[in-house]
Amino acid sequence: MNAHLVLVGLAGVLTAAAPVLFGVIGETISERAGVINLSMNGTILLTAMGGFAIALASGSVVLGFLGGMLIGGAVALIVAFASITLRQSQVAVGFVLALLCRDLSYFLGNPIMGSTGPRLSILPIPGLREIPLLGVLFFRQDIMTYLSFILIIVAWLFIFRTRPGLMLRGIGERPAAAYVRGANVNRLRYIYTVIGGAVAGLAGPIYSLSVKAGWKGTISGLDGIGWIVLAITIFGGWNPFRAAFGAYLFSLLQWLGLVLQPALPGVPSQVLQVAPFPLMILTLLLVNIGNAEWVERTLASLPAPIRRAISRALRALNATPPSALGTPFEKE
């Protein structure tokens, strides 16, 4: 394999990571506000089918993406209503929606299965596209991939560098304190859950209008991505940059699985395609293990230099969830 092919492959990794990124950043926004939207797997499937159906009927890719945002926002609204207004378990509602939206997408998508519809075209950026190496990698992509780059930075700036972002973190960490400071906690949670759902709602159409264009029902290969999005959100420690790293790592591993296929004839392709998942668990373990009590106790008994090295490594990996994640807020 020559260098150019590798470069094109890596550019493909960036393209394939775009939908995952929209999902992960959307979920990060929602969880930062304290709401777990566990419906992600259903949301991605339903928005993929819905976005494709809308684009197919209207001939407009833009309408397909808008439709995806609308559907994603609507599903998130149900999660918000059930958990914030009705005080039911976020996990239960999200899980049911994950299954319900999946089945809904298969049922409603049945008539358009296998149709060829509009798809996103590549939009090379004049000038920048000619830069050696970087041009192929970054500047011969489609609009949603460019937007995914921008999304990472904008989301990070918003969460960590603006006043509303500070409030967003506040309602997820210390809702009571945020309330005292004048934040309408529950209304903000509604808003951010729906925004997060709408952002994640772009993930589906990116698949069905670009990365895996079309709708092929159960063999679309999209079932399971939403669960991965949830895992990467944790891996990303609710930080857009780290989440992006997780999304690119996942996408890279899947690509490597395909590329390495001929070199590993003994390993069936189905196995290589799921190879990233075990690695994801391992990383989840590494990310979380620093929070476990026995680790601290064991560390305390080790000689100081080793202890310092290990705890520094764990702290670098460690991610602590927003402390009010999953718990309803009641004023009083």
Partner: protein, 349 residues
């Protein structure tokens, strides 16, 4: 489904009606005749003796899984890794069958040992999720989801690798086991095994009495209601969670074992058939109580089997069953929320 007050019954009824209405709207959107679709599902589930037997074939794993999940829910755990636990049960059963099939032991002994192996497989996989939670701080939902993917990968690897059919490996699974290693079924064509049926019924009865009438069940409930309070009162919290995980894994393992020994008679890629996730839905719908689990699981199984006819007769996707089940669970949860809101308003007024 906590209390039997008339208002509550009305709310449940409303949930069923709205769920049906929503599904009807979905049918109308896809320009399908709703009445014909429903008639097809009903006929497909209870039209012939064979179909009724198929409903029971599907009821067995669903009820087993639900029974196990009631234990983990009682202790306050969301055992979403149940799918993987079914798969590991099936893998361990297949493993035992492969090892023992030429051992000369009587088939009944081999089958019993293989189902026991399935229990061990399911329990080990469940305890792995438990260990990740207890010692690694990994939330059981995310650990379980990840382990589901690992189990799927392991299953595929076995089917396409070490256990592949001689010649060409395929999605149709491993080589079927010889007839004498199939659990005895009602008739030669049927896949309904009376012993599997007995296992499933025994399972839910055991869980019912375990949770209701034993010291162990009481402690499980204590941990589930308030883990830190239970811990302060001397209940070894994480050990109880671990036991609940292991027991749930045993149930899931039996479900996987039955899929291998009586339904497919081999290991196939989709051996869990989504029963784990469906069991979570049933458990939620019965509000984690064992009493109603059997009839509700039967209803879900009937919907599944009934909808198999839809693609053939009406060119509709069989996922309609899932749409109806999902909207039902969603509306019952929303209904519960509405009821609780009304109740708190009553008491505060």
């Amino acid at each position: 489904m906590r209390s039997k007050s008339p208002a509550n019954v009305l709310l449940q009824l409303a949930a069923v009606i709205i769920a049906l209405a929503l599904t009807t709207i979905v049918l109308l959107i896809s320009r399908a005749p709703p009445l014909a679709a429903y008639a097809n599902i009903v006929l497909g589930a209870v039209g012939t003796w064979e179909e009724i037997a198929n409903v029971l074939v599907s009821w067995v794993p669903l009820l087993l899984v639900t029974s196990g999940l009631i234990l983990t829910f009682t202790v306050g755990l969301w055992n979403i890794g149940i799918e993987g636990q079914i798969i590991l049960g099936a893998i361990f059963t297949t493993w035992a069958l492969r090892l023992l099939q030429s051992s000369g032991l009587p088939p009944a002994v081999i089958l019993t040992l293989s189902i026991l192996a399935g229990m061990v497989g399911g329990a080990l996989w469940a305890m792995l999720a438990g260990a990740l939670k207890a010692f690694g701080g990994v939330n059981e939902i995310f650990g379980g989801l990840g382990l589901n993917f690992v189990a799927t990968a392991l299953n595929l690897w076995l089917i396409f690798g070490p256990w592949k059919r001689p010649g060409v490996a395929s999605m149709s699974g491993t080589v079927p086991f010889p007839h004498e290693l199939w659990l005895p079924t009602l008739s030669a064509q049927s896949r309904l095994s009376p012993s599997a049926l007995i296992l499933a019924i025994a399972g839910i009865v055991i869980v019912y009495f375990l949770v209701r009438g034993t010291h162990f069940g009481l402690r499980l409930k204590a941990v589930g209601r308030n883990a830190s309070a239970a811990y302060l009162l001397g209940v070894p919290t994480w050990q109880y969670m671990m036991v609940a995980f292991a027991l749930c894994g045993v149930f899931a393992g039996v479900a996987g074992a039955i899929q291998v020994t009586s339904v497919y008679n081999r290991l196939i890629p989709s051996i869990s058939s989504g029963y784990g996730y469906m069991g979570l839905m049933v458990a939620m719908l019965v509000n984690y109580q064992a009493a109603l689990a059997a009839p509700v699981a039967l209803f879900f199984a009937a919907l599944n089997v009934g909808s198999i006819q839809l693609p053939i007769v009406l060119k509709l996707d069989s996922s309609l069953a899932g749409v109806l089940q999902g909207s039902l669970v969603l509306l019952v949860i929303l209904g519960q929320g509405v009821r609780q809101r009304l109740l708190t308003r009553d008491t505060s007024a």
